[in-house]
Subunit: 488 residues, 2 copies
Amino acid sequence: MMGPPVHSFTALTTDLYEVTMAYGYWKAGVSDHEAAFHVTFRHNPFGGQFTVACGLATAIDFLRMFHFTETEIAYLASQRGNDGKPLFDSGFLDYLRDLRLTCDIDAIPEGTLVFPNEPLIRVSGPVAQCQLLETTLLNILNFESLIATKAARVCLAAKNDPVIEFGLRRAQGVDGGLTAARAAYIGGCVGTSNLQAGERFGIPVSGTQAHSWIMFFESEDEAFQTYASAMPNNCVLLVDTYNSIEGVRHAIDVASQLRKEGHEMIGVRLDSGDRVALSIEARRMLDKAGFTNAKIVCSGDLDEHVIADMKQGGARIDMWGVGTKLTTGQPDAALSGIYKLGAVRHPGGQWQYRIKLSDEAAKTSCPGLLQVRRFQQPDGRFIADAIYETDHAISEPCVVVDLETEKKTEIPAKTDYSDLLVPVFRRDQLVYQTPNLEASREHARKQLDCAPPEILRLKNPTPYKIGLERSLHELRATLIARAQEQLK
Amino acid sequence: MMGPPVHSFTALTTDLYEVTMAYGYWKAGVSDHEAAFHVTFRHNPFGGQFTVACGLATAIDFLRMFHFTETEIAYLASQRGNDGKPLFDSGFLDYLRDLRLTCDIDAIPEGTLVFPNEPLIRVSGPVAQCQLLETTLLNILNFESLIATKAARVCLAAKNDPVIEFGLRRAQGVDGGLTAARAAYIGGCVGTSNLQAGERFGIPVSGTQAHSWIMFFESEDEAFQTYASAMPNNCVLLVDTYNSIEGVRHAIDVASQLRKEGHEMIGVRLDSGDRVALSIEARRMLDKAGFTNAKIVCSGDLDEHVIADMKQGGARIDMWGVGTKLTTGQPDAALSGIYKLGAVRHPGGQWQYRIKLSDEAAKTSCPGLLQVRRFQQPDGRFIADAIYETDHAISEPCVVVDLETEKKTEIPAKTDYSDLLVPVFRRDQLVYQTPNLEASREHARKQLDCAPPEILRLKNPTPYKIGLERSLHELRATLIARAQEQLK
């Protein structure tokens, strides 16, 4: 990675209430009492049945650099309560100034397939510290996981065709574009149009010309020829400025000229109109003219559903440029990640488990310090996931209880498994070797290969088997009953 | 504004194709020939009939700092074409290294109401420079205008109730949150939960506590009391962790204790459940207990439609905290802004007008260097907008031609008007005094006051009267006919 970090996450990239709560803990003398929080989410995005975890590398960058600067302390010192007096004691500001993270943090590596209610990150340590990390961790994991998942869906729809992320111009801010390019690459895209993402993350970049190039010249012919003269080995000619078929004809003329000069046109790009019919005709024209290796690139308002329909309709597309709907994660635009308290430990005491009740039983949170056990076939194919509490022994055979239906599934003894959360920080030490981007991308690819195909379907996918390990389910039921008793 | 600029826009915050096109112009010896581009958009977002222009201040920051660093030049030098050779000549890299913007830039001030096909920004100058600015200007204006518009819609739905932006945790990256907070403030929000936005932009921040605060303690009562002890003048108590009505009861207990000690509870926050019924009951309970000034804050999955329905249903809410759907601009998530070439001028020549054809006549671009004239009643109320070409005289009376229907509207002579685009840069000089955030916010408020009420309706709004001034319409029709002739 070249250049300075581009993310401008700071300790103030957070909601005021995280700081007022930290202040409250500090005032009450309990800021160093321990707590355990988890980032989880309630629903897979895009009507699908899987999510690709993403954002851990960004989160690690943030966590390593976490501290309050003097400017930030001065800003907090300037905050006033309703009475016009300083909101925070100066002693608390000193506490923040000296604060260095000492939490234990475990997380699921980037590129791993994850499912609702599974903890993506567990943070345990001094409660005030845990609280101060909430908003930023959610921001990072929600956005990157959303986009990595969208990219995986688009790439699945494109089958083996390469997909390029094209969405910077419609992204939600500069970082919206940059971070989306990174997440889309992990999710399966082969590259991006975004040069900043190329420079920062080493992601392959691509792009040739826009309609304005064609319009600048007197004719499309002149525009194509001028481009071909400048970059004879980089010609993907955009053919739809005036009329796509006419454009393909002009592109073939230029390609013939290039070939005489020892160069090959890479291909043409279709950006509007009925691109199924146009691609079939363009393919026919290119083949007939002897350009059987020329690629047809398709762009313009694409997503996984449009691509699947176009392929179904017989489109002859070799490469897809997907912009707005990928880069902004439409139609969801946000993953519903939350950060919930699972347990509290006062000095010298045991972990006390906590839940948040909800009108819907399945939305009541899970207590404890959580881990996810993924059971797999010997060849790696996923069987089921069990969320368990780390201090509660897992019965053999393991019984998984579905959160919605309470249906129990017994996993045969001796089934292979792996535990998904791995240690990332132990107090102030980073104990995790962050994989590089290529390794995370490859991990995502392998995960998708090992997933039951029915959970990956675009239409009517089947939910993956996931639930609470039996003793966690019992612990949760006990806490729910106790809380409801107290409410009576 | 304190601290360093937080946006990490650089000259590389762009698509590769902008640079390959600039290279192509440079290779062809025409990089300094003049062009005029406009940022426009095709549809108002959210099914509405207005858009709030936003992002100009951010764009100015970007434009003022625009240059390629050595690191960026080195990255571009590392790019290879399909033949494995450097994509760019070293002479072009020298050109980029020395490049300083010399474009004339005109724009519509932030907070102004704008409509489809109106130019938000006009960039005219050396074509290679214009091209290099495309992606970044679109990114900035698309996102900020989207969020300012969403905020305006939410605030209109909330009528005179204050609305606070709460969405950082689900925003699209750090800058997605920060920039959204700024745009939401211009659009009418009174504040944000985002401390970074508070520090950078001086936006008022608010927030008190989350469910985790309540859950950390043995009981809700203890949690409320502990918070009240720490911040007796900053108490908005979150009441729905276990049961909202029970929570209001506990809040009243704490408020009574506070009052004895000379403090007033600010209010309670409802975050789930049937908040219409809960707010009515909470209001009754608070009033009965003598807390008639206690506010009821509502949050949790809100947008303009939910707020309008809740108010319609008689909800007794005093303040709204709106997160995900505001901050990510759901359900659209992107404004469809585009950057189109309107004219070209070769050295010593006249402006040559350009259009891009489309299958739909209304989607064909507008030629020329464009300006928007807004006709208004003497009291400021908007009558109609006419897009006109700056070198074509406007007839008196002005005739406005609707782009879809071709219907003509005559504006009476002597009607008041203002031209919306103002000079921002003249060559390398910033000639615009950027208003501060409060002024832009106030401008948006006044614009909404002057807009026809029927365009602001949430349901079935009427389109605002906007079209091409007659001579521009004729110019466009002539160019369309000529282009279609050439295609035959």
